[in-house]
C-alpha cells in the first residue's frame, strides 16, 4: 500500500476529532463479555458431561 496515501487517510481520521468512547459504553461491553464468557464456560462444562447422564430412557 502507498504509505503517503495511508498517511493522508490517517490524518483525515485524526482530524475528525471524534470524542473518546465513554465509560458507560465500556461498562456495557464488559458486562456483555462477562456473560458471554460465563455462557461459554457453562457450554463447555455441559459438553464435557457424558451424554449417558442425560439419558432418561428406561431401555435396558
Amino acid at each position: 500500500m502507498n504509505d503517503d496515501e495511508q498517511q493522508t487517510f490517517e490524518y483525515v481520521l485524526d482530524s475528525l476529532d471524534i470524542p473518546e468512547p465513554d465509560q458507560t459504553t465500556k461498562n456495557k461491553i464488559m458486562k456483555a463479555v462477562y456473560f458471554l464468557n460465563v455462557a461459554k464456560e457453562v457450554g463447555a462444562f455441559h459438553a464435557s458431561i457424558p451424554r449417558t447422564l442425560f439419558d432418561d430412557s428406561n431401555e435396558e
Binding site: T8, F9, K26
Partner: protein
C-alpha cells in the same frame, strides 16, 4: 493480576482465549477509539458509530479464537470493523432506511475549524466513494478485491482511490 498493559496484542489474545476476560479490557482500551473513528468515517453519524463500536467489540470477543496471528491483530480488527459497518449500511439501504444522505449539522459545534472542514468534506463524498476509501485504507482490501466488490476494473479502482486521496490531500493536507 498480571500487568496486562505491558502485554503485546498477541499475549493479550492468548490470555483472553484462556478465559482471562480482564485482558479483554486492555485490548478494548488499546483500540476502541481507533475503531470508533473508523465507524464514524463510514457512517458519519456519532450515535450510529457508537452503536456499531459496541457491536464490533462483542463480535471481537466471540470470534477472537478464529484470529490466526498470521497478520497483525489491528489488521484483523479493522477489517472486521469495515465489514461490520458496510454490512450495516447495506442492510439499512436495503430496507430503505439509509439513503446515503448525511445531515449537514452533524459536526460538533465546538470542534476546531479544521475538524468541521473535514466533516463537511466527507459529507460531500458519495457513499460509494467513502466505501471505496474505507475498503482500501480501513479494511486493507486489495485493488482486485475492491474491483470485484464494486464491479469496476482494477485500474478504475486504482484511479478512483488516487483521485479521492488527491482530493482529500488538497482540501485538508498534510
Amino acid at each position: 493480576m498480571p500487568s496486562y498493559e505491558l502485554f503485546t496484542d498477541n499475549e493479550l489474545i492468548d490470555a483472553i482465549n484462556q478465559g482471562n476476560i480482564n485482558a479483554f479490557e486492555f485490548l478494548y482500551d488499546r483500540y476502541t477509539s481507533k475503531v470508533l473513528k473508523r465507524c464514524y468515517f463510514i457512517c458519519l453519524n456519532l450515535e450510529t458509530a457508537r452503536d456499531l463500536n459496541q457491536e464490533i467489540w462483542v463480535k471481537v470477543f466471540l470470534h477472537l479464537h478464529t484470529f490466526k496471528k498470521e497478520a497483525a491483530f489491528s489488521s484483523w480488527l479493522y477489517r472486521l470493523t469495515t465489514n461490520h459497518c458496510l454490512n450495516y449500511i447495506k442492510s439499512k439501504a436495503h430496507t430503505g432506511q439509509w439513503s446515503g444522505e448525511i445531515p449537514l449539522n452533524e459536526p460538533r459545534q465546538k470542534s476546531p475549524a479544521a475538524s468541521i472542514e473535514v466533516h463537511l468534506l466527507l459529507q460531500k463524498l458519495s457513499l460509494e466513494d467513502r466505501t471505496i476509501l474505507a475498503m482500501k485504507f480501513l479494511g486493507e482490501y486489495s485493488y482486485e478485491e475492491i474491483s470485484a466488490i464494486c464491479k469496476i476494473g482494477v485500474s478504475a479502482a486504482k484511479m478512483r482511490v488516487s483521485r479521492l486521496i488527491t482530493k482529500l490531500r488538497e482540501e485538508v493536507g498534510p
